[in-house]
Structures are given as structure tokens and as C-alpha cells.
Symmetry: C2
Subunit: 439 residues, 2 copies
Amino acid sequence: MFSQIEDFHDWLADEERSHAFDVRPVPLEDLTGWSFHPDTGVIGHHTGRFFTISGLLVDTDQGPVRSWSQPIIVQPETGILGILVKRFGGVPHFLLQAKMEPGNIRPVQLSPTVQATRSNYTRVHGGRPVPYLEYFQTPRRGRVVADVLQQEQGSWFLHKRNRNIIVEVDEEVPVLPGFCWLTGEQIGELILIDNLVNMDTRTVLAGYPPAPGPEDPEVRDASDVAALSWFTEARAGRRLDRGLIPLNEVKDWVRADGRISHRLDRYFSVMGVSVEIDNREVSRWSQPMVAPRERGVIAFLARRPPASDDLELLVRAHTQAGTFDVVEMAPTVQCAPGNHDPDRRPPFLDHVLSAPPERILLDVVHSEEGGRLYHAENRYLIVEVDADFPDDVGEDFRWMDARRLARFGRHCDHVELEARSLLACLRFLDPFPRQGAHR
Amino acid sequence: MFSQIEDFHDWLADEERSHAFDVRPVPLEDLTGWSFHPDTGVIGHHTGRFFTISGLLVDTDQGPVRSWSQPIIVQPETGILGILVKRFGGVPHFLLQAKMEPGNIRPVQLSPTVQATRSNYTRVHGGRPVPYLEYFQTPRRGRVVADVLQQEQGSWFLHKRNRNIIVEVDEEVPVLPGFCWLTGEQIGELILIDNLVNMDTRTVLAGYPPAPGPEDPEVRDASDVAALSWFTEARAGRRLDRGLIPLNEVKDWVRADGRISHRLDRYFSVMGVSVEIDNREVSRWSQPMVAPRERGVIAFLARRPPASDDLELLVRAHTQAGTFDVVEMAPTVQCAPGNHDPDRRPPFLDHVLSAPPERILLDVVHSEEGGRLYHAENRYLIVEVDADFPDDVGEDFRWMDARRLARFGRHCDHVELEARSLLACLRFLDPFPRQGAHR
């Protein structure tokens, strides 16, 4: 436990120094244990496990581009992302881990207590057992405060889901090297630092329940139904057809110089890395990764309704290549600006990028999944608009208070990963409403 | 509107008399417009629309039989099931329709205000426009009180979903011939009559919101999380792999005498019917149907916790061939007894079938979807057990109060069709808790 946040930073600096690591790009052809399938070009591991990089053909009635093909990470297994909570002196503390991931820009970041793919925790690669795993498996002793299957980024992953689980315990918990207890307040401070709280931690923390709002239960139920009806309308009205295709049949993507890239140099590349690292389950390996072309922008427009203590967020009904069930609730803006022609800028992007400083409630750069994505980061923003900003800004958008969005996030396939990252910030940071059990 | 329920029965008798119809089984080979694909044996319509009957290969780690293949109805489109509500003298009335369906045992049943496949309402078969459809399409004038995508039976349909929507309006609504307004109380009476309130009506009515219970919002949220954690555990822990295969490669099923049946004469047959009917969009057609082998048993065990006004139901985490997302919340018992070897009787089936009369809170036979299923009916039961019936009856089961289960039903892919049928009964009938807006 850290009585001051400086102590945490000292501890983290020690952790960083103690991690010897070396991550270097290598041509896809040189990856040990990985190869291109001779017929399809699909990249896979010789054991048939971990993940593959395949081709995906997408056909939809949404968005400016309605039919395309792309490489996609296929990993049809369910990992565990678990955070352990324990009260010390009545104050909830969260057990996080300083963990190196090969794709991270800042190599060591704060990850959940447990962050394990099924391959990890069933130890197909013969690594060490996953510490603390037993707290998240049945029969468990603690109290589950959040537990839901959530998807990863739909633009790069096909149906990859993780179980996001928070368990509170009363018993003594040994703190292993590399792990630390942090309060909600400390997390609120650290989540404002670029590339420190990793994606897995953010998506789990987004589920940490706030106190219920002051809403009357009957009003709350009726408002939930209205919001869900908007969601149903979007799901029922859209078409999203997908099929896996050979990687070597993906149109407009070329394999050259040991990587696979789009011919316009947009979106992302598939590349290889060779990794040496001293505190992972396995200390040396190589693997393919997906490297986005540029930093993305992920933002909510927010307004403060006069009669409420909660922020209202402009939520978007969003369809991505890998979305499990056609549509999820997403931030107002979510894009890599360079992927869009000037005449097809996503709605509200310019509004966000040109907001005056006093309207910017949050502005922080966070990393995405460092185990499959290479140097993937996004600028996360919350931009306030006037309370009288129009209610109706098109059928793809809907104002929804943050508490309600967080509550929908208890149900799988409702709230997109990127929105969960922003909800985690909102949940833990000042000056936002932050009542709740952890106070 | 009917001041007495006898008036309704007189009206229905008139409706029945005015419907001239003739449904007769015909060999699959004789269906007009339908044929077997020469290579795969898949049954389809010459337009490529409506639905197909294909083969499905299932492989799972659940249940006594873990790998099988079967015929399955494939209809990857989203229909609309909508019920219009309007208050007369402050009392909500529901607009239902006396409708003939070719598969019904009792031919004319009460169906929703709108019951339309996408093929219906986009009129690919050149039929008449669907009355009242405009109330359920945007922009709509009324207030949405329920709106969710729900699946049909997972044993016979692959991913067939309908939008289940209830809209309340204040304006004048013309009552077309064949339609009538019924109060919640009248529905509560009629839902106790065998084969009268059809499946589509039941699944929509299950979503009619009860008043929120007396639970403290914070307690309610925590209990929701605990119940959803059980659901997540089941989803994350189970495997369900499926793939469409040619219908003529389905193992253990034989085509003979104009139908396709299982070699043990279990489960169901695929058969053909020829239909002549006078009040449908099209008055004459033929089509394939699925005919279950016998009447099924669908039951909740229920108990009355001392401190609650709500019934607790023993909910099962259930996986079926066509379940969209591995597991849904289902009744305690759901089976056709004859499909099971005597040494593999489903849990609690004998408990339900041997319950003494005073423990049986509900016992009624209802029909399933009459448009695709032929003479499909199930006996629906709610059987009370002692309040001290064990809490822990295995990880597949969990006690859950009816109000909570109904609330989860607002989210798609949570509550199975069969459970929704029982919830509809609970919602509308005496002597069950029945507070709410319609009182």
C-alpha cells in the first residue's frame, strides 16, 4: 500500500528497472513456431493454439464503406481478466500488477490481478501457473461485484471475449512481487497519466459498480426500456454479414518487407516481433502482432443536465468488423482520423478536436491490448457541450447518463471496449460524480 | 371491448366460423415452390426467401449427448412481434388478433397486433400490407414499454430472432375485423385455456413491465450482479460449436414417405403441408414444417421466500442446438420425455410430473409457433416446493425471483422462449403477484 502516490511511482520505477526486456520487429517469415498456411496464407502457430491471423470479408449496410476485406485476429476462446478488491480500514483497495507486454509503448503498465488467456491458464505453452487465478474460479470465497463477458476491439479481433470479473475478499491476501494495492482515489490519479493503466485494467474497472443514482426505480426502469429500445432498433435494422476467407485473398492488402499492409498505407499492418523478457510465464518467444497506422481518437461528448448529478454521454450505436451481435454502444467518436477521406470525416470528430481547453474534461492517451497489438494507443477525451445541445442528433446517437451506460455494461455485448475505457476514467476520477461503495 | 369474458368467447366463435381453412399433410416432394437442393438436400423456396431446412452439426461439452446432427430451420432475418396497448378508463387494454396458423392444433388463436416476418412486411410474396405495422416502426407516436430482440426455440431454429415490442398509445385506434381489445385481467383468464394465447403473444407479453419490487436499489443491483455472475460462469465455461451441413448428411435421420424423421422415431419430423385459408395475406400455399414427436413438458419449480411478495423460480442455464450465445436462462424442466432413455431422465422431470395437485400453481397446454411448427404443443407447469427447498441444486440451476428474471428478459439472449411463456402466465394471472401499471 502506498500512503503517497510518490511511493507508487518509486515502486513502479523499481519494477521497470528490474524488467530486462527486448522487443524487436522481425519479418513475419522469421517468426519461430509460426507460419503461413501454404494454401490460405493464414498465420498460425504450429501447435494450432493461441490465435491465428486470417482474412475477413465484411458486408454491411452501415457506414461510408459497406463492403471490404481485412486481416483479423481470430482467437475464439475466453480469457480471464480479474481484479481482486479488499478493504483496508474500510477503504477498498484494488490489487494490480506491474506487467510488461510486448506491444506496449510504455513497456510496464498496470494490469489486472489476473490477465490470462485460456491458453495461459491451461498452460498449453508450459509456463508457470497464473498467480491469484483461484480467486476467480469456482468455488470462490469472495463476493463477486462484477462479472461479465466482454469483447475486445471489433476492428482487429473477431469475437475475442474475456470474462471481466471483480471479486472482493475479506481474508488475508499475500502480495507477490510485482503486485500492489491501490485505492480508487489513487487509480483516479494514475488513470490520468498516459499509457499507465492498461486496457485490461480499464475494461474491468469500468464494471466497478457505482452507487445507484437518486432515480426513482420506476422512472429508472422506464428510462432503461427507452434506451434499450433505441439499441434494439439499431440491432434489428442493420445488416452485418461476415465470413472468414483465406488471408491471401484479402483485397487491397499486400505482403511485402515481412509484413502485411494496406495498399493505401492506412488502418494497420500485420508484423512480427521477437521478444525477450524476464518476468513472463515464458521468457523468450516470437509472435505476429497488429500495428495500427496511427493514434486514434476516442471521445464522448458530455453534458450536465440541470436536474442530475450525473453526466450525460452521447452514445453511438456502432458496428465494427468483429462485433459479435451487429451493434454495441460506443463513444461519440471513435476513429483513426487518417483512415478517413477529408469529405468523409466521422461525425463530431472536428467538434472534439477543436474544443476549447475549458470544455475538455478528460484528455489522456491510453494503450490498447499489448499482447496482440503493437504500439496501439488512443487519445481518450471527454468534451463538454452546452446543456441545451440538441437531444436529437440522428438515429445512430442517443444521450444516456453515465450510470445507465455503466449498468448496461453488466450485460455482455452491450457496451464497446472503447466506451468501457472512458467509463473507467469517469468512474474513478475527480471531479466527476464518484459516490459509491468505495468511498 | 368485452365487458364479460363470455362476450369474447362468442366473438371468437364467430371468428372461427368465418375462417374457412384446410391444412393437410403432403409429401415434401409435392410442395409447390419448394424443392430439395440436388447436391445438399437442403429444402428451400425457389425465390431463395422465407426459410430453408438445412443440416446442423453440433458439438458441445454439455448434456448427455455431446455430438449430433439434426435438421434445422434457418431463417436469418428479424421479424416483428408487436402488441399495441391503450388505456380505456385508465385500464390498459391489449390489441390482439384472432389468427389462423397452419400448424396450430386449435387453428385460430390470439396473436399479437402485428406478427410478421421480414418477408411478410416487405411483402416479397406479394401479399397485403400488414395492418398496424406503422405503430411499431420509427418514427412512432406512442411510448415504447418493451422492445427487445428475442430468439425462437433453439432446438428447431438456428438464430431466428424477433423484435418483441409493446407500444402504448393515447390516440384513437381503429379496430379492424379479427382484432379485439383485452384487459390484462381478461388475458390472465384466457392464458389458462389450452392452445388459445399463441406463442408470439406470450413472448411479447412476458416483457410487459411489472412495477418494480420493494427491493432497495442497492440490494437489487448487487443481487442482479450475483445472478449475472452465475450466467457468465455458465457462458464462459461451456463450449458449443456448430456448423451448417448438407441436409442429406445429417446422421441417423432418414427421408421416407415424404418426410424426414429420426431413425429411432424421436425428436421431430420434417413434413410438408398444403394450406388453404381465407384471411391470410396469401390464401393458398404449401410449405415444409417441423412436427415434434410428442407434447413436451416445460416447468418451473417455484418457492415463496418468507420475506418477499414474489415467487422464486428455479432457473436453468440451458444450451440448445440453436442458442445464439451458448447459454440462456430457461425453465427448470424443458423436454419431451420420450426423447430420453429411462436412465437419463432430465433433472426434476419426475418431481414435476408427480407433484400433488395442491402444489401445482399452473398447468396449461400451449401451442408453439404455428407458422413453422406443426401441432407443436407443450404442457406448461409451475410447481411449488417448500420454502426450504435447497438453495444449491447444482451449478446449472439458480433460484431467482420472477421479477428479476423478467427484468433480465429486457436484454436480448438472456431468457429462453419457453421461460418467457411461463413468465407471461405469471405476469398476467391470479393469484400471483400482479402489481403494476395495468392495475
